[in-house]
């Protein structure tokens, strides 16, 4: 346990006898009982995650909006106060520094939620870009605890247990709420592919909420199911589908890039150049034809030629299929292309497919 940071809920995880791991410098629960049970709780009912390790960076100032437009790949100019957008921050070469949520508080204040592993890097990057902009940047990561409550019954459950009616809160919107003299920021967002909410507050507030949910038998969920859930929903994870060596175009995330707008953003020129001249690979879906598990890092072949690697893969808990996201060289990215994946010392046949892993069950 040397040098691990802990979240305000660390004691609660230990009390629940969670299996703990080191993740992004934090001592975090990987699961409490079983990844499968936690995964199914979120798909079918409600599950709760400690995501207090996530970073929060606040941008304030007269030119906050203009500054975030420059930093962020997705639209900010169209956001109203209380709305959120998902996108990335890029470096000049177009590769990804981090993916993040941008919450618009007002024209002069934005709340950025970034990955735990990248907080320091993101903060330095943002500060470096402030030259010429009338803005102030604050790393508020230590001030916020956060839980994610996810699953189809979450809205009902929060109404019942906290008396907070979130039925009017739309997807990718947020608002401030009061609970027992605590002020909470609640957004209808998540990382599971299910309906749900993320709740930000002080340490005391979040510990109190966590225990209310635990006392009512809401399933606590660890990083294990967080990964299996986000994977099935085709949501990227930094260090896997995106990284400082991968662009959003390669990652198949062009939808989150305002490439056609007039707004200049950091990395835009490199992306346009790549799209026009040099797109050599892309993240695609892949499925094996026999029972085996295509895991992260496994090599993908076309005949004898190595054509890429698995970025994330599982025997899907929801569909039972051996599926993966894989970074594949063109032209083998075409759907239906027959490929094989090296699983230990065997070559397992498979094919390139779409990334809508959940659609076939719902």
């Amino acid at each position: 346990m040397e040098n691990y940071k802990v979240t305000p809920l660390h004691e609660e995880h230990i009390k629940l006898n969670a299996k703990m791991v080191n993740f992004a410098g934090f001592h975090m629960p990987i699961s409490y009982t079983s990844i499968k049970e936690e995964h199914e709780a979120v798909r079918n009912n409600v599950g709760m995650f400690d995501v207090s390790h996530m970073g929060e960076i606040i941008i304030k100032g007269k030119e906050a909006q203009k500054f975030v437009e420059y930093l962020f790949t997705n639209h900010v100019e169209t956001l109203k106060a209380g709305e959120i957008n998902y996108g990335m921050m890029l470096n000049n070469g177009g590769t990804v520094i981090d993916d993040l949520l941008v919450y618009k508080i007002n024209d002069e204040e934005f709340f950025l939620v970034v990955n735990a592993s990248n907080i320091g890097k993101d903060y330095s990057h943002i500060v470096e870009q402030t030259d010429g902009f009338d803005v102030v940047v604050e790393n508020a990561s230590e001030e916020y605890a956060e839980i994610a409550i996810q699953g189809p019954n979450t809205e009902k459950m929060i109404h019942k247990l906290l008396g907070i009616d979130l039925s009017d809160l739309k997807f990718f919107n947020f608002n401030n709420y009061e609970y027992h003299n605590h002020s909470l920021l609640i957004s209808r967002t998540g990382y599971t592919g299910e309906d749900g909410f993320e709740i930000y507050g002080s340490d005391e507030a979040i510990i109190e909420l966590w225990n209310i949910f635990i006392d009512q038998s809401i399933t606590p969920c660890g990083l294990g199911s967080r990964d299996t859930l986000r994977f099935e929903a085709n949501l990227p994870l930094y260090g896997h589908e995106i990284s400082n060596e991968i662009t959003p175009i390669e990652a198949g995330l062009k939808y989150f890039v305002k490439i056609d707008s007039n707004i200049n953003f950091l990395g835009k020129a490199a992306l346009i150049d790549q799209m026009e001249n040099s797109l050599t690979r892309r993240v695609v879906g892949l499925e094996l034809k026999q029972k085996s598990i295509p895991r992260e890092g496994y090599k993908v072949f076309k005949d004898d030629e190595e054509i890429g690697y698995i970025t994330t893969g599982y025997l899907s808990i929801t569909t039972g299929k051996p599926i993966a996201l894989a970074m594949i060289n063109r032209p083998y990215t075409k759907r239906g292309t027959e490929v094989s994946v090296q699983v230990r010392n065997k070559m397992i046949p498979g094919f390139i497919r779409n990334k809508k892993f959940l659609k076939e069950t719902k």
């Binding site: 299996k19 990987i30 699961s31 079983s34 990844i35 499968k36 995964h39 294990g224 299996t228 029972k291 085996s292 598990i293 895991r295 599982y314 025997l315 808990i317 699983v343 230990r344």
Partner: protein, 127 residues
Amino acid sequence: MSKILEGLYYSEDHEWVKVLEDNIVLVGITDFAQAELGDVVFVDLPEEGDEIVQGEEFGAVESVKAASDLVAPVSGEVIEINEDLVGEPEKVNEEPYEAWFIKVKLSDPKELDSLLNNKAYKEEISE
């Protein structure tokens, strides 16, 4: 607390070996191993007739999160594999000492002496 049965042999790779009759053994993974792995979702086994060699990998047991090599605790010929585990890998979690993986005809029964008994294995996992 992990369950350990008397009368079995154990390897440092957390496998158990049960002697059925002269030179014929079953091999599985221990309660400690299944708990460390979490939900077992797939077992990759050798084929009948394959030779396995003590200390070398002969297959894999995979949980949701990770693949873990199976290391042969003894040498010999695989004379049967447990087909039930293909359809119901969760049995490895539920009854680790019933859910055997392979039946082996030993090529060198003296190798059993290099394995741990229940007491020594208990010490091994409490370290």
